[in-house]
Every structure is written in C-alpha cells, then in structure tokens.
Point group: D2
Chain length 404, copies 4
C-alpha cells in the first residue's frame, strides 16, 4: 500500500492502441461527417468500427472477460475511455458509449445467469444496443428521481407497465430497454422502484420523437418513449422488486465517471486544436501563442484538464475499492463538466473567427460538451447533495461535542 499512479503495461498497451486507432482511423472518418455527426454516423458504421476495434483487441475494455471484454476496472478503463473520446466516434467504435456502457456495467452486477445470457451477452458483443428508461417529463422523475410516475402493477406471471419517458438516450434502434418503474409508494417517495428488462419489440413500447438537443453525437438520439400496458414476465425483473433505486446507484456513480472519461477526450482535442492554432498563427508582430493573454488561456486549459483528471482518478479508485463514492463522483462530475465547457470556450476564443466557424470542430465540440453540466444530474443537484452531506457531518460532530 502506497501511492501509485502508474498503469500496468497491459493496460498501457490498450491505451496506446486506442489512441493510435482513434487518430489514424476514427478521426479521418469523423472528419468526413464534419457538420453532420448526428448519431455518430449510424449503426452500419458502428458495426464496421466495432469489428476493427475487436480485431485490435481494444473492444469493450469495461465488459467482463467472459463476455468478450477486457475486464478493466474503473481506474484502468479511465485512460482508455479518455483516449477513445478524442473523437466523438471513438466511444462508438470501442462500444463504450452511453448508455450501453453503463448498462453492461449494471447487468454484470445485478442480472442473473439467464438474464446475462439473454441480454448481457449480445450487448457486450455490440450486436445490439440498449436504452435505460428512467427520466420522465415534468412532473415526473428528472433531477429528482423520487418523482417517478411510470408504474408497474403485478399481474399473473409478471408485471404490467404504464408511463411516459423522455430523454431516453439511444432508444431509437435499441434492442432492449431497462425500464425503471414504481412498484410501491407514491411519486415523491424515495422507494418502491423496480427495474425491468424488455426487448424493444415488446408490445406496448413505442419510441416517439427525438428531442433535438445541442449535442448530436449520441447514436439512437434522446427520445420520448411511451409504455402502454407493457407486459414483463417475472423472470425479466432485474434484481429484486422495490430495489430499483439501489441498483440505479450501482449504475449512476460509475456511469457519471465514464461520461467524464469520454468527454475528457473531447476537451483534450479542443485544447490541442487551439494550441496548434496559436502556435502557428501570427498577429501583432509575433505568434499568438507568445501573447500573455493567450498564454493565460493555454495555462488555464492545462490546469482545468489536470484537475478534472486527478479528481477522476480519485473517484475511480474509490469505486474500485467498493466504496459508494457519492462525494467523489459528484465532485469529479461537477468539476469536470464545468471545466470541459471552460476549456472548449477558451479554445474557441483563442482561435478567433475560426473558432466560431465550421472550419474548426471547436463549436461542434462545445455543443457536445455543454449538456454534461445538466446530464447525469445538473451541477446544482450534485452541489446540493455534497452540501447536505457535509453539513450533516458537521451537525453530527457538533452534537457529539466536537468543534472545528
């Protein structure tokens, strides 16, 4: 036991291969789509890229080895995902994009053997995509999951689900859904949710309109999905009845961190583009990159990225130790989401008129990065949770007679 921040050579090899693959193979493809990265090019391209990644031995670094993945823990998958995120198509290629990556993670932890065979195996291979149907339109479950309104009622041999979801990432084209529905209590109660597995062609499931958002790269979009008398047999209940919120936590902490990993890659790219620009571009009798105000932006980008990465390393390690990581993941997510937006905004500013044009991908990266301050819990909700715990601890300490 002692501080160690190095990676095993086996992991380092995956990182290097991923980085090389993204730069030599994925980025040129992304560039061809420039200005139209909707759905990361679609499923056909996705399967092509997947096959290539599999051949290179870098597919699904997070998935269990028995299902064809590399079985890397959170700490080790982190730099791989970051390398993949350098292109918005990279996570698709390695099959580590949201929500599949988080769904693999949850199924590996919660599903029983039959469910693993039926749902996890094809998902881990990338033969199908999946969706996680939790978020609901107002006044349902959004930032406040306790407001869950979609309901499942017990029927003979299974459950019948009714409700409306939205912002369901990847729904269009998904092979199956993990559905969060209330099985006890009332909207506002923080209990009584259950998770259900259902193939996409189950009668009563309808994928509706895409909610157009400023980010465009997510394959399968962010969709409205309606559930009308959807029957789920008992064997497709994921884990225990009424334990849905607990499983959601299993998924959400790590999923939050893998978002940070991937978008760190995008932020790195914005940074690189801007430094390259100011290193070359002349103005005011010299290079832009030698001007103090530009240097300040360069340095602030370095600081923001280093801090985000260090917080991520800490959070992943806590999760790998079996910790809940509530504070660490909220801190890393909140800082990183805001830092990435600062990085890409400074990068735009450094490039002047080019920065706001399509001649550089910076404005596009800004659109992909901005929503992360809202997705996976808005910064305000994470700050509220952090403060509640910190103040709660202080109260307990004070009650115990302690003082700072």
């Amino acid at each position: 036991m002692a501080i160690d921040l190095s990676y095993d050579p086996v992991v380092q090899d995956v990182i290097d291969k991923t980085s090389e693959f993204v730069r030599s193979h994925v980025l040129p493809i992304e560039e061809k789509f420039a200005g139209d990265i909707a759905a990361a090019g679609g499923d056909e391209l996705r399967l092509e890229l997947r096959d290539r990644a599999r051949d290179l031995g870098i597919l699904a670094p997070h998935a269990p080895v028995e299902y064809g993945g590399l079985g890397l823990n959170m700490s080790d998958r982190s730099p791989v995902f970051e390398a993949a995120g350098y292109s918005v198509f990279g996570p698709i290629a390695l099959h580590i994009g949201a929500p599949d990556e988080g769904n693999v993670h949850m199924l590996a932890h919660v599903a029983d053997a039959e469910q693993k065979e039926k749902y996890l195996a094809p998902l881990a291979r990338g033969d199908v995509r999946s969706a996680f149907a939790m978020t609901e339109p107002a006044p349902g479950a959004g930032s406040d999951p306790a407001a869950l309104r979609t309901a499942a009622v017990k029927v003979d041999g299974g459950w019948k689900i009714n409700g409306d979801k939205w912002f369901i990432t990847g729904a269009d084209g998904a092979g199956f859904f993990i559905i969060m529905a209330r099985t006890a209590g009332e909207p506002g109660d923080r209990g009584g949710a259950t998770m259900f597995l259902a193939p996409a062609d189950t009668p009563g499931i309808t994928v509706g309109r895409h909610i157009n958002t400023i980010d465009r790269a997510m394959i399968g979009g962010h969709c409205e999905v309606a559930f009308r008398d959807v029957f789920v047999p008992d064997e497709d209940v994921l884990g225990e009845v009424d334990e849905g919120y607990r499983y959601a936590q299993v998924r959400l902490g790590p999923a939050r961190m893998t978002h940070v990993m991937r978008w760190m890659g995008s932020a790195n790219r914005a940074r690189d583009i801007a430094i390259d620009y100011v290193a070359r571009r002349e103005a005011f009798g010299g290079k832009l990159g030698d001007l103090g105000m530009i240097q300040q932006m360069v340095a602030d980008n370095e600081i923001d990225l280093a801090a985000a990465r260090s917080l991520l390393v800490k959070a992943c390690w806590v999760l790998d130790q079996g910790g809940h990581g509530g504070d660490e993941t909220s801190i890393a997510k909140t800082f990183a989401a805001e830092a990435f937006s600062r990085v890409v905004d400074r990068s735009i500013q450094m490039c002047g008129g080019m920065g706001v044009s399509d001649d550089l991908p910076l404005a596009r990266l800004q659109r992909e990065l901005r929503p992360f301050q809202i997705y996976d819990g808005p910064s305000e909700v994470h700050r509220w949770a952090l403060a509640k715990r910190a103040v709660g601890k202080a109260r307990k300490a004070a009650a115990a007679g302690g003082k700072p």
Copy 2:
C-alpha cells in the same frame, strides 16, 4: 446639466411601439422558422417586415431624417435597438442590423452629396443591403487592422483594387460594398488605408463561400469575397485617400455599441424564458424558482444585464457628446459580450434538459451570442487597448512627478 436617465416621450413612444411590434408580429414569425433562422428568413421576408415597420413609424431610427429615418442619436436609439433585438428578426425588420446600420452611420458622416444620393438613400430606405469589406484571412487584417493587405493602386480616373476578404457580413445579396484597401505603406503600418464604394455588380467582385459560423441569423451570411482588378472611379472614393483608418474608427465605435444594443435584446429574451420556466416548474417539493441556487442565477442575470446596460448608456452619451469613446466603448463591448454569454448559459442551466433542447430557443440564442466575444474585436484586443491607455497615463503622471 445634471444627471438625467429618462427618455423624451417621443423616443419612449418609439421604444414602446418597437417592443409591441416585435412581440406581437416578429416573434411569431421567428417561431415559425424555429431551428432554421438562417439569414433571418431571407430578403423577401425582410422587405415585408420593413414595410410593416415603416408603416408603424419605427423604421431606421438611426438614419438621418432627410433619408427617411428617425434621426435618433446613440443614446436614444439604444433602447429602441434593444427592444428590436428581442427577436433575432427584429433588427432586420427595423433595418438596423449589422452591417447596414453601421454603413448608414458612416455614409451619413463621411459621404459627399452625390455618394449620399447614390448609396445612402437606397440603403437608408432598405431597398438594398450593403457590406463592409475590411477583414482579411491570415496573415491579413483581422484583430490587427494594420495588417491590411488588400491593395488599391492609382490608375487613370480611379483605383484598381486587388485582394481577398473574409467574414464579410451580409455580402451575399448586398447591393454595394464599402472596401477597405491599402493605398500607402506596407502591411503592419497603421496608416495608408482608403475606403472605396462599389456596386456589387462591379466587374472583379466575387462573393465566395459562406463561412459557416455558429451564429446563423445574419442576412447575407459571413462570406469570402475576392477583389480582382476591381476598378473604382475617383468619385467613389469615400472621404479622403489614406484616411481609411480614421473613418473606420467613426464606424467602429458606434457599431460596437449597436451590437451591444441588439444582443442585449437577445440576452433579455433568454433571461425571460428562463425565469418563466423556473417560476412554473416544480421539483424537490416546490418551484425551481424558489431554490437558492436558482435564485442566485436569476439574480446574477439581473446584475449582468443591468451592468451591461449602464455601461452602454455611458458609452453612447460620450459618443453623442462628440467624444472618441475609446475606453467607454471597449469597456461596454467587452463586459456586455461576456455578460450576454453568461446570461444565456445560466438561462440554459436553469431550464435543465429543456435548456439544451430545441424545445426552447435558448441553445439557438447561445449560438447567436457567443461570437460577440470575438466579433468587433476580441475581448483580448479590447483589454489590451484599455490597459495600454491606462498604463500610458500612469507613465505620464509618474514622469510629471505625480504619485497615486
């Protein structure tokens, strides 16, 4: 002489009519274009809206009365432009968008009688649009105007112009160009520029590709324009030869402020949408608008908008007094551009998932507002100019034996 921040009833009437016109007539039209506001709907719509504005007596509040405008000075046009800017189509309707508005301003100050008849009159009426061809691709005139490379050489009866421009707003469909070209000195000298007037169909003028930028509302786009052996007769030289930089200053200070006015309208709208949202939306057992972190964003929006407006009022008053207003316009522009981006970003955050979706126009407004930190002089250039003057004054004071 005494502080007065009120408007004459005549001016107030124009403000009120503009505000009413934009909300009842222009916004509904803009909404029909939602998601596709490119070029503010095009010239046909522009002419329709113009006629309506003219009928209401609010067309061209900045243009001289003798050319059909209302002749308002900077101070008085400010709240009118702000009211018009509430819709991105509003400035088109009142014919006060960039670059026409600034070109009207400059022609009114610099053009001779014949030039006024030929160029200013149809422009002030909105019968034609115009473009101001100054900015050049690297290594030409960008943030540093002294790098001007487009050159005009004296020929019999006029001048022959050669060079390449880019980011020429409104070029596509413009009736004429005001061209900035070097008539003396070398790139890097801060002198020897001249302004030329040329109808768009002058041989040798070619409007090239649109530079796609994140803002979309500008009619006529931001284009590349090539000038190849363009002949401009002596009578179409605007003002004196070699005095172009001086005239550019006449244009740029006020143009900077009218940008602030219009985009203040957009920022107001973002603020209004977000407050309306949080005032209604329930979460965590109450309304979003009653939560402290949301209230902080609401208040910061109020503060940013009030400060931007107050700085604008000051700068306009200085310009109206005949002052150069270098410091005041740089301060107002720099603060406002950054403040507007903060306002719209907070507004997005306040609306959560809706904020990053097309279901609200916030993301679109963010795209229109972001470039203002770069257009009309990046913030860094304004800060550099401000600091240079401030430090210069301190040096003079120190040399004179003064101390703080």
Copy 3:
C-alpha cells in the same frame, strides 16, 4: 428629458476641490498613520479635518443647506463622496462617513422640527457623532431584520427599552443613538418596529467591547451596546410608532449607495497604486505593465470600476426621482462590493511581494473593502431579494397569460 451624464459646474467644483483636498492634505496625514488607521485617527483629528473641509466649502455635501450642508442630491453627492473615499480618512474629513451620513439623511426626512434642532443640527455640523442601533447578535436582527428582539414597552410619558445590539458602528464616542426596537408583534414578524432617539448618556445605555473586524477605519468602531430599562420620552420617538421598518428603508437604500461611493474611492486608489507600480517596475526584460497577463488585470480593473460606477449612477438617479430603487440599489451594492474586492485583489497580485507588504497600502485597503460584501446586507440576501422580485413578476405575467 434626455440622457445627460454631466454635472453642474457648481457640483464639479465641489468634486475638484474634494479631490485636491484629499490628495494634498488628507492622504499625507493618512500616511503618517500607516499601519494604524484605527478609528481614522480619532475625534481630535476628525475635528481638525472637519474645520478644514468647512473652510473649503466642501463639508457635509449631503446635509440640508439650512443645517450647513451643500444639499446635494444622491446623483450629485456621488462623485464627491467617491473623491473623498480616495483616503479612508476622507469621509471623516467631509463628515460623510457611516453611520452619520445616513443618520443625517434619515433625520432630515423623518424628524420633527424639535428633533431636528436637538439632534440633526449638531450632527450636521459634525459637533457630535451618532450611531444607528439596529443589528443584534444571533438569534436577533441581522441579515433578517424581522428577527428584531430588542423591545420597547409603553410607560408613562414614553417608552422603556431593553435589549442587546452589536456591530453598532460608531457607538464608542457617539453623542446619541437611533434605536430600533420592537413595539408590536413577535420576533419573526415583519412589522411593529419603532425608532427612538436617545442621547448617549441616557441611563441604561452601555457601550461594550469593540468587535474587532478586519476593517479598522471606522471611527467609534463596531461595538456591542446594551440597553437596560432605557427611558425614551414620547417626544423622542422618531416618526410614527410601529413604522420603524418603513423608515429603515428610507435610510438603507441611500446608505447602501453612499457606501458604494466611498469605497469606490478606495478601489480607485488600489487601482492607481497598482498601475503606477507596473508602469515602472522592470522584469523579464521589460516593464510589468507591458505583459499580457498584467494588462488583463489592468483592464479588468477598469471594467469593474466603470461598471460599478455606472450602476451607482443609475441607482442614485432612481432614488432622486423618488423611486424605491430596491432592485437598482441591490444590484449596484452587490456588484460593487464584489467588484471592489476583485479590484484590490488584482492590485495586490500586480504588485507581487510588495502587494502583500505594508510597504504599500493595498493589503490595508483589502481589509477595508472585504466586509462590504457582508455589511449592509450580504450579497446573498440582495441576490435573494432580486430573484424573489424577478420570479414574482414572471409569475404574475404568466398568470395574466403572458409568455416570454
């Protein structure tokens, strides 16, 4: 009616004289006290400086002419107070420091003729100082005035007051107190307060310890004051019984703004010292003032000061028009308090090691400026009030069928 931001020559003359007086006479005295500016040098010095200011015709610019002042309204007193604030001893010299200045303002508006003769006349002349006894230790009236606990009960011929106050500025050495006490309702009610006038030697009034704060310049300190069976005759009730909160508003809005005016002077001085330093100091083969990161700080100081001043001008004008100015004074106060701390912090940073040493007065100015983010309503309370009103307006508009 039209925008005018100029000052009458008479006012300009007071500004210029004040500026000259402070620089040639007051600053050299302040410098002698360097490192020990406690209580602005004490009452003896105060009276000397007052006499000098009276001789120059710049004493008490805010006081009614009939009581020896210059009778300037809020707008006109603003630049005078700012000029005086360039030295922390300046407001003492002109007799415009807190709380006397606000007490003069309130007595002029609320006191009856006899009270004016007894209390206002000697105060306006600066023969005595005064204190405003409102703030109480927890759980009493602090940021939340409704928590008022000091109580006055009706007795024969007057009132008997009991309670404890703290943070009572100027209490030590004050000639009289204005006491805010509850005459109806319970702590938590926003009503039922009354203001009482009482000479400092009234039996039962005890000035206790000074609360040592990071600011040191306030004459009379910030003290604890105990009121034990203090008898106040009916004729010394200020205004109407139970109307104390209303009168407090009469005092607080303007008092907030005069704080901004005075501390703007301190911020100006910090700025000037730092620019002077970087304009002279060599490093890295040039002058500090020519380095981009330093220029950014110089420019940001200019922007912050200009914005604070513009917001102040607006708020004063609204108050002069008879407006309540709740929003405008909260905005100006909140922005200015934070901006001044930024300005002095940047100024320190610009001066490096000298900036944190007593060799320059910057660290001292930082200590005087920091508390303003808390005094006169913490920034959070002003933001809360701003948001409440803004959201309230949106709710009303929505209820009326409006939409943004």
Copy 4:
C-alpha cells in the same frame, strides 16, 4: 503497477497522531495567541512543541532517518503536513515549516558528509533554524531568478559575498544561511549562480528590518538581509560552483508542494469553521446550512479542496518517481493557491459579520493564505511557464508534421 491511493499503515499512524496532536495540543495553544500569532509564538514555544512532537514520534517526517526524521517521501509526507497545517503552529511543532523543511530537503540531496554533520544534523533535530537567501529587491532576483545581483568573488581559500536580499523568511533568529550568489555571468543570464552555507554570526551578515506582510505566522519573519564582504570558505560551498540554479530547482519543486500541503490544512480549517457555523446558525426561519446559496458555497469548498489535493497527490508522485515535475508542481501550486483563497473567502462570507471579526480565526487565515498566490512564484509566472511548454510542444509536433 496499478492505481493505488492508499497509505501504508505506518504512514497512516503518523497522520492520525499528527491530527490528534494538533487538535488536542496545538490548537488550544494557538487560540491563546489569538490575534497575535506573530512568529508562531517564538522560539521558546517552538522548542517545547518540538519536544512534544518528538516524544510522539512525529517530528520531522520528511528528514532522513539517519538524522532523526521519519524519511517519508513526498507522497507520504503530504497528508502528514496537511494534518499539521490545520493549525498555523502545527508546522512549527513538527519542524516542517518553511524554509527549514526545504533546506533539510536540499541539504540531504546536495550537501557533502561534513556539511551534513555541521549544518543538516542540528537543523534536522530542530536545534537551530535556517534561512534561504535568494530573493532580492528590485531590480534583482524576484519572480525572475535570472536577475540575480548578489555576487560572490573568488578569494584565497573561499569566496567573498556582497549583496542585498529581502523577503528572507526565517532570517531573524536563523542559525545559518544558504546564500544564492552570482559567480559567473551578468544579471539577466540564467546561469552562473552558486549556493553558499554560512553561520548567521559570520561577519558581514546583517539581518535588517522585518518586511511586514499580511501573513504573520512565519517564525523569523520575512527580513531584509545585507551581505557585506562575507567570507565563505571553500568547504562551505554547497554542491558545485555555478550550479546554483540547478540545486534551486531541486529545492523549489518540492518546497512548492510542501507549501500546498501545509496551507491545505489551513484551508481545511476555514472550511470546517464555516460549515460548523452554518450548520448551527438560524436565520430566515431555518438553518443557514439549508439555504441553497450557502449550500453552493459549501459544495464549492469541497470541490476546490478535493481538486487541490488530487493535483498535489499527482505532483508528489511524479517527484517521487524522480521526475522533474515542472508542469505538475506548477499546476498544483497555482490551482491550490487560488483555491485556498477562494475557500477562505467563501468561509468568511458564510459566517457573515462573525466572518470578518476576530471572534473567528477566518480573517486571520485569509491573511496567511492570500500571499501564497505570490510566494514561490506568482500565479502569472507559473501560467507563463506552463503555456511556454505547452505551446513549445505544439510547435515541435507541428514541425514534425503532426496535427491535432
């Protein structure tokens, strides 16, 4: 090799003992000095505290085991120093304050056997204190070490040193000095410096006035020191002649990080005091700690501290691996220094009037923390160095044909 962020039980024991010692023994002593922490109570108290720490087995965790220390590397000493820094007297007690701690580090790396016996041994035991005489008044070596003017000339059997230093921490009462003097080249050259060891009573060394700075806790102050014909024999040259800048780097990187460690402790304390306050304090019908704007400050403190600590862990690990750590230490230092000032400033704001009073130690902690943005290289110099390296790398990559 794999990410590990845990500490060996032996190290954890030192952390725990230090934390317990500081809270139960050191803090109560510090509190007795409240308002007068100058020089951390002086040398007598220092020796008492040292003996106590030695008895507990936590003295000098950084010093080599053969000289009585615990021999902890950078990574392991980090949480110990942080625990000690919770009181400003803690580092004195463990004998890990600046500059002694850095001098021990450098002597252990550079001194020869005799020098170690003569200088390091008594220093490691805490029998004497020491000073590092590098910084000079303008136009000498400050932020720009190359400006070094103090000169050493070769004489028979040794060197003769002349020059003036200032901001020499710990000089008053130091047992010996490490003197940086130019032995080749001219001011402005980045070479030709040599380090010399000299007992404080060497003829020609005069400790002058203390430069009063806003921080007060440093034992021995920040002093001016004059060197007049100071003779240093050849055997007291530290390391090689003309290699002083290289050794300075050996000292500065780690010294920068130990500053971060210690001041992290102070920032933790500010955070704890403020949370304790808002957890108890009632206002507006509830606890301050349940209000959203307060929660935001609580959360931002958590985020800032976590990010600073994570960056520190990274930098220490790089140094422990033998890396130069130029980027990592600059990033950690710059972020941490600014973050600590934000933390203490928010803590003050959270406590309102109490926050700016001496009734809480927050204002005092702010004074100790602010200078760190300037000491050990101002933030601007670190940002400049970071940017220079980043832009330089981009240039090399571009020259090699790479693109981002």
